[in-house]
Symmetry: C2
Subunit: 112 residues, 2 copies
């Protein structure tokens, strides 16, 4: 059965990676604001992504407050790519911009 990278298949991390993919390099604070998440929680999830080399960090200081810039690595983008494909195979999303129930052939609903 279709595997879903557990590192990516978690609400906050999916959002994180999707956001980095779409918006490019972001500071810790940017991410914190965008995802409305606590410092500690963001830190913990970033650490996991860093440990997996899905995300890289570049630190700056000297010309202002110290800042960390987080960015998706090529591996991270590749993993996201694979993840999205796995989702597409698992969930019949193809061509369903507006409904998708028709995309689930053979289903039977509980009649309650």
């Amino acid at each position: 059965m279709e595997e879903l990278d557990p590192l990516l298949h978690q609400p906050l991390r999916t959002q994180l990676v999707a956001f980095l993919a779409g918006a490019g390099e972001q500071t810790f604070s940017d991410l914190k604001r965008q995802l409305a998440v606590s410092d500690g929680n963001l830190d913990a999830h970033l650490k996991k992504l860093l440990a997996a080399d899905y995300v890289a960090v570049r630190k700056e200081s000297g010309n202002g407050r110290p800042q960390s810039f987080f960015i998706l690595t090529p591996q991270g983008l590749a993993a996201l790519n694979d993840y999205v494909r796995a989702l597409q195979r698992l969930l019949p999303l193809a061509g369903s911009g507006d409904g998708l129930p028709e995309g689930f052939p053979g289903r039977t609903l509980a009649t309650d």
Copy 2:
């Protein structure tokens, strides 16, 4: 930012619900085999889906071994529908059957 139903956004439960959506009513053992998961783990996740009324169960006995048939409820299908749409908004998947990197405008990659 885009919300992802935490009940569905978990590897095993996503697979479970996707499978039920695609294949209709399934027994406990069918699910166990298809998802290659331990009894206890399957039971735990089914309980959560039952508690949320995403899945319903019908029990049979008397004419063979006792069996439970699990099935997606209308609420479950609706939740899955919402979930897929949230993913589609979060991840720019549209029309990317074969690459998708182009689907992430504005991204910048770490050069390592």
